[in-house]
């Protein structure tokens, strides 16, 4: 067994741009769920909205910054659209509406009639929309090898993308840390605990829930942009499973914590890679074929997560004391 290459693969996942994309989307979900108690079951919808906004704008020849702004604006509109009818109601309604809305975005994106805009089922190929981000690169062209990892400096799945993605993660962690410890975050936590109590103290609960939905949604959209930059925009790559991965890694790391999404995403994707690589090496192809190993590794991860939820329901970084009160 080639442990060097296996470990290089696993460690490569730790700082992969897609790992960072999931972190960013999960930070957004943490604002929704961990801080405010909003059950957003359609974070993938926000990601897809952001990705389409960015890709379509930059494909038309605009800068990466414009693309980013369009992605954010689209996410704000999407959040307003979802929030206006549902935030008056009990939490479950937002869950139903978000899961349906995310599916609507995906199905419209992949429909044949939208091929002129979204590329339909085939999506938007990478080489078209990536140039704008490529143009922002501060590194020299070429590729660099550091230890076991060789990536292009600027193009597609690059060192530059890694730097930008993880700097974004750091900035968002800082933002969430600041907000969680501010009076604004306190109001959100109050809403999470009991929104009628917060209402009785003279706060406009609806407005705070809307702010939270928009802020977390924008983070989701940013996650979507980072998600597609090393690959292509493809509607089905951001469907229901993506939403549940985001939920999984948030709960794994610990909701309502600053670093929970970071730890959760790194752990989920690197352990998945570890299980896949080891199984490919150890299990003969006559027993399990490569694509079966792909599926089976998710089964293993799923069982591990079930164990985690049973034995450590607050997640790795979560506060047991806080959770035990809620369970009582």
């Amino acid at each position: 067994m080639d442990w060097t290459s296996i470990l290089a693969n696993v460690a490569g996942e730790l700082f992969h741009p897609v790992t960072a994309a999931y972190v960013i989307a999960a930070i957004g979900l943490n604002v929704h769920f961990g801080l405010t108690g909003l059950l957003n079951m359609g974070q993938a919808g926000f990601m897809l909205i952001g990705a389409y906004g960015f890709a379509i704008t930059t494909l038309a020849g605009n800068s990466a910054l414009t693309g980013f702004l369009v992605g954010m604006a689209a996410a704000v509109l999407f959040a307003l659209l979802l929030g206006m009818p549902t935030l008056w109601l009990r939490g479950d309604y937002l869950a139903i509406v978000t899961i349906a809305a995310a599916e609507i975005v995906r199905l419209i994106g992949r429909s044949t009639s939208m091929t002129w805009l979204t590329g339909g089922n085939a999506g938007i190929a990478g080489d078209g929309f990536k140039n704008a981000f490529h143009a922002t690169c501060l590194l020299p062209e070429g590729s660099t090898t550091i230890l076991f990892w060789t990536y292009p400096n600027c193009y597609s799945n690059s060192w530059w993308l890694r730097i930008v993605a993880w700097v974004l993660v750091a900035l968002l962690c800082l933002l969430v840390w600041r907000l969680m410890r501010s009076p604004w975050g306190r109001v959100l936590k109050g809403i999470r605990e009991d929104e009628d109590a917060v209402r009785s103290l003279g706060k406009s609960v609806y407005s705070y829930k809307m702010q939270s939905l928009i802020l977390g949604g924008c983070m989701g959209a940013l996650g979507g942009i980072v998600f597609v930059l090393p690959q292509a925009v493809q509607a089905d790559s951001m469907g229901r499973p993506t939403t549940f991965f985001v939920w999984t890694l948030l709960l794994l790391g610990g909701a309502a914590t600053v670093f929970g999404p970071v730890l959760g995403s790194m752990l989920l994707w690197s352990s998945l890679m570890l299980i896949k690589s080891v199984m490919r090496d150890v299990i003969p192809a006559t027993v399990l074929r490569t694509e079966q190993i792909e599926s089976f590794s998710f089964v293993v991860v799923g069982v591990t997560l079930m164990m985690l939820i049973i034995f450590r329901p607050q997640g790795i970084l979560g506060d047991k004391k806080e959770l035990s009160i809620n369970v009582r």
Partner: protein
């Protein structure tokens, strides 16, 4: 405020439902709320005297809590008009009602369990600039106000003897302590009028006396108190004026001693319709209190 002064304020007030008060802080007119075919609240006229403790009593299902919900914006009436300090509150959402100076507590205590006692208190304070998303990012803009709030919160916690619990999660408090915390948190808002929905429900008898003392202290500080209560001893002990509801209507008003001897009140409690036994028990309690 002495008992004599209280008597003189109410001396000219008629002992009839919807009686005019010399200086009402809250005036409600024609408030009507039906759930399906069942009329829950149908109040023609109600005035609540400023700076006094008014009790709202009545048998189960009389519409007391529903009226509370309507007046505080937690429910919408089918029709009706009410004003607080001369300003109409009808149709305002709950948050704006609280901002106007009328803060309520709940029958089932709403302590924010996974927040500490001091955070619960801080949340009650108004005018914290850091509650704005943008300002929140710049601590120097909200730290001075936060220090003020914390000081006010700590002094209230001392008054309610919760200072030892300052950094505990509110979820770890006993039922009675939660009632106290909820009341203290409401006071952080600096209300002119506080509305307590069954402040004694679930409170251990040892705490009852101190809770009664706290409520009287609120009145002595100049606050108006309106409370719903089933405990007749409490009503008799601390209220200056009693309003009796039955089947959604106000059936009697008056000072506690008079009201409890009122035939309409005893009838309301005894009832003639459904669940007579429960009403009879409450009426028995009422008569029991009157005899003392």
């Amino acid at each position: 405020m002495s008992a004599d002064a209280t008597r003189s304020v109410f001396s000219d007030v008629e002992r009839v439902p919807g009686a005019r008060k010399p200086d009402p802080i809250l005036v409600a007119d024609g408030v009507h709320r039906a759930f399906g075919g069942m009329v829950a609240v149908d109040v023609e006229h109600l005035e609540v005297q400023r700076g006094k403790i008014t009790a709202l009593i009545g048998p189960n299902g009389a519409g007391k809590t529903t009226l509370f919900n309507l007046l505080t914006g937690f429910d919408k009436p089918d029709k009706g008009e009410w004003s607080f300090n001369g300003r109409s509150l009808a149709g305002l959402p709950a948050g704006k009602v609280a901002k106007a100076g009328m803060v309520r507590t709940f029958q089932l205590t709403k302590a924010l369990s996974r927040m500490t006692v001091i955070e619960n208190m801080r949340l009650g304070a108004p005018r914290q600039p850091g509650e704005n998303l943008v300002t929140a990012l710049v601590p120097p803009l909200w730290r001075p106000r936060e220090a003020e709030i914390t000081e006010q919160a700590e002094s209230l916690l001392r008054r309610f003897k919760l200072d030892a619990k300052r950094d505990d999660f509110a979820g770890s408090l006993s039922g009675g302590q939660r009632k106290l915390l909820e009341m203290a948190r409401a006071l952080m808002n600096g209300p002119e009028m506080i509305m307590l929905d069954e402040p004694m429900a679930g409170v251990n008898p040892a705490l009852t006396q101190s809770l009664l003392g706290h409520i009287q202290a609120l009145r002595d500080d100049g606050m108006t108190v309106l409370f719903v209560e089933h405990d007749m001893h409490m009503v008799r002990h601390i209220s200056d004026w009693v309003v009796v509801m039955a089947e959604g209507r106000i059936v009697a008003e008056g000072p506690p001693d008079d009201v409890m001897r009122d035939q309409a009140v005893i009838d309301a409690y005894l009832g003639s319709d459904d669940a007579p036994s429960a009403h009879a028990r409450q009426a028995g309690e009422l008569l029991d209190v009157c005899r003392r």
